[in-house]
Symmetry: C2
DNA sequence: CTGTTAGCGCTTTCAT
DNA sequence: ATGAAAGCGCTAACAG
C-alpha cells in the first residue's frame, strides 16, 4: 500500500496525495476529500522510512535511562511517552543499568537509528563521554535529572531540598541524622543530595554520618547491620535521610528487621516521590520530584528546538520545583530516656 | 556521511562498503579492513531509514503495554528491551493507559512506523480489534499476559495459581476469603484470576465474595470502607486475595487505616510478584509471574519468526511457570473467639 | 571478488 | 492547484 496505489485509485498524482497528508490546505477541498476517502478505504499509511529518508527527520526521539525497575524512571518515561505521542513523535528507549559503557553504546545506536534528538540521563554529567559525542554529532539532546552548567538540563535542585529536609528533622528534635546513599562515585545526583545533607548538618551544627550501600543488592542487610550495631552507641541515628525512595523503603525494612519502629524509634525520609510511596504503611515521607513533568518538559524542549531548528544549549535548562511530601515515616525525636520513662511507662513494666 | 563518502575515500564502490557491513565474508580481507578503517575514521553509520526502505525491515519491534506506572509492565518492558537489544533490535513502546481506543491507535502508529513485529498487551484479547487488525495486516505479533486460543501468547496460568492460593488460605484456617479486583469487565486477566478464585472457593466449599474497586484511584478508600463495615459481621473476611500487587499494597494500607493488623487480623495476598513486594513490611505474599522472562520470551519468539520468515500462530504460545512467594502478609486464621480469649488474654484486659 | 544499475516510498522543486 | 521528475542512502541482482 504505497502512495502510488492511492494516487492511481484516486486518479491524481503521487505528489497530490503527499500534499493531502503534509499540506492539506494546498489541495482543493474536493480533491483532498476524495484522496482522504480513498486512502482511508485502502488503509494507506505513509511509510515512515521513506519519509525519513527523504526529509532527513525521523520524528523519533531516543531516550537513554538507567533502568525502568526504578519507578522514578518509569514515571519519567511515561511522561516522555505521553508528550512525545502528543507531539507526533515516537520514542526509542534504551536502558543502561547504570553502566557507563552502555550509555555510550545506547547513544550510538540511537544516532544510527536516526532519531531527531535524544533525552538522556547519565550517571555523571561531568564525566560522561556520551555528552561530548552528542555535541560533536550536533544531535539535539537534553539531560534529565542530571545538572550541568554546560548542557541543557531538565532537573531539580536536590541539594537545597535535602538541606531543608535536614533542617526539618533538626526542628523535630533529631540530633543524630544518618545519610544512606548508593555508591556516591557513580552518581552526580547522589553527590548533590549528599552535599545538601552536609550543608544542612553543618547549619544545624550536627555531625554528619554517611552510610554507603550497594544500591541494587544487599542494601537492606547492610543497613540492618549498621542500625543494629549503632543502637548501643550514644550517637545512634534517630533519623535517616535516604538518597532515594527505593533505599528508604529498604531502610524501613531494615529498621523493622532489627526491631526498630518507624517512625517511633527511627524516622526515615526518602527522595524521589515515587507513586508507591504514598501507598505504603507507614506512608513514605519524601522529597518529591516531578518525574512525569521532567519527562514532559524534556520532550517539549526538544520538539520546540526541532521545530525552530534552534540549537539547544545550557541556557535552555530548566529547574523544576521540588516539594516535601508529608508521610508517616517521620516523627519528632523521642526525648531523652528520663522523659521517655514518664511518657511511656507501660513499656517499662512490660 | 553516507556510504558514498566512505566508498570514495576508500577507493571502492558503494556496494563494497555495503558488503563490508552486511556480509563481511564476501569481501577480500585487505579491502574489508581498509573500508572498516575509513568508515571508523569518518564516523560513518549506515542510515537506518535508507536501509529499512530498501530491505523493508526496520529491525525495530513495537510494544504496546497498558502503563509503565505498574511495575509489572515496567519489568516486562525491561525484559523486552534487554532481549531486543541483544538481538540487534530497537523497541518503540506505546502505552494505552488501559484505554481501548489507545490500543488501536498505538498499533496503527507502530505499523506505520514500519516495525517488523509487535508485542502487545491488551485489556481483553477476545474483544480486541487490534488483534484482528494485526492479523489482517499480516504483521507478526505476540500477546503478553493475555491468553487466547487463537493468538500466539506468552502468558501464565493465573487461574490455576489463584485456585491453589485459595486452597493454601483454606488450609491456614481461613473461611471468609474475599477477592478484591479492579474493574473485571475491562481485563481478561482479572476475569481469569477471579475464575480461579471461584473454583478454589467452591473446592473448599466456601462462599465467594467479590469486591470490585476502581483500580487507579480511590481503591484504598473503598477497601477501607468495606473492611470497616464488614468487621461487625460474622462473615468478616480474614483473608483477602487481591487481583494484583498494587491492589494488595493498597489493601494492606486499607487494613491499617481501619485498625486491622496484617497478617494477624487480616491476611493479604497479591498477584504479580513485583520486585518491590519483597521490600515491604510486611513483605507481600504473592503469586509471582516472571515478567522479565515474559518480555524476553516474547522477543525471542518474534526474532525467531522474523529470522525464519515463519508466520507466528497460536501454536507458538508458551505458558510460563508461576510460583508463590511466601511473604509476611499471610498468616493462619485466628481461631474462634472463645479460643482467642485464651490465647490472647491480655487483649481483653487492655 | 567487485562494480554497475535499479529501485525501495516519499517529498519537493520546478513547470504548467 | 496539480503533475513530472529527481533523488534521499542504501541493498541486491546481475555482470564482469
Amino acid at each position: 500500500m504505497t502512495i502510488r496505489d492511492v494516487s492511481k485509485e484516486a486518479g491524481v498524482s503521487a505528489a497530490t496525495v503527499s500534499r493531502v497528508f503534509n499540506a492539506p490546505d494546498t489541495v482543493r477541498p474536493e480533491l483532498r476529500e476524495r484522496v482522504q476517502r480513498v486512502a482511508a478505504a485502502l488503509g494507506y499509511r505513509p511509510n515512515v522510512s521513506a519519509r525519513s529518508l527523504r526529509t532527513q527527520r525521523s520524528r523519533a526521539l531516543g531516550v537513554v535511562l538507567p533502568t525502568l525497575l526504578n519507578p522514578v524512571f518509569a514515571e519519567c518515561l511515561q511522561g516522555i511517552a505521553q508528550a512525545a505521542s502528543a507531539a507526533g513523535y515516537s520514542i526509542v528507549p534504551f536502558t543502561t543499568d547504570y553502566k557507563l559503557a552502555h550509555e555510550d553504546h545506547a547513544a550510538n545506536l540511537l544516532l544510527a537509528r536516526g532519531v531527531d534528538a535524544l533525552i538522556v540521563c547519565v550517571a555523571n554529567a561531568a564525566r560522561s563521554k556520551v555528552l561530548t559525542r552528542l555535541r560533536s554529532a550536533k544531535a539535539p539532546y537534553v539531560l534529565v535529572y542530571n545538572r550541568h552548567a554546560r548542557h541543557p538540563c531538565v532537573s531539580v535542585d536536590g541539594r537545597t531540598a535535602v538541606t531543608s529536609l535536614v533542617a526539618r528533622l533538626h526542628a523535630l528534635g533529631h540530633r543524630h541524622i544518618l545519610m544512606v546513599s548508593g555508591a556516591m562515585a557513580s552518581s552526580d545526583r547522589a553527590q548533590q543530595r549528599h552535599k545538601g545533607y552536609l550543608e544542612g548538618m553543618a547549619a544545624a551544627d550536627l555531625k554528619p554520618q554517611l552510610l554507603e550501600v550497594p544500591f541494587m543488592d544487599g542494601a537492606t542487610e547492610r543497613m540492618a547491620e549498621f542500625l543494629a550495631a549503632s543502637q548501643v552507641l550514644p550517637q545512634a541515628p534517630t533519623a535517616v535521610v535516604c538518597s532515594n525512595d527505593l533505599l528508604a523503603i529498604r531502610c524501613m525494612r531494615a529498621a523493622h528487621l532489627v526491631g526498630l519502629r518507624v517512625p517511633e524509634d527511627l524516622s526515615v525520609a526518602g527522595f524521589d516521590g515515587i507513586g508507591l510511596g504514598e501507598e505504603l504503611t507507614p506512608a513514605l515521607s519524601t522529597i518529591v520530584q516531578p518525574s512525569t513533568e521532567i519527562g514532559r518538559r524534556s520532550v517539549e524542549l526538544l520538539v520546540q528546538a526541532l521545530a525552530g531548528a534552534v540549537p539547544l544549549g545550557p541556557h535552555n535548562s530548566v529547574t523544576l520545583d521540588l516539594h516535601f511530601r508529608e508521610g508517616e515515616s517521620i516523627a519528632a525525636a523521642r526525648t531523652t530516656s528520663l522523659v521517655c520513662s514518664y511518657s511511656q511507662p507501660q513499656r517499662i513494666t512490660s
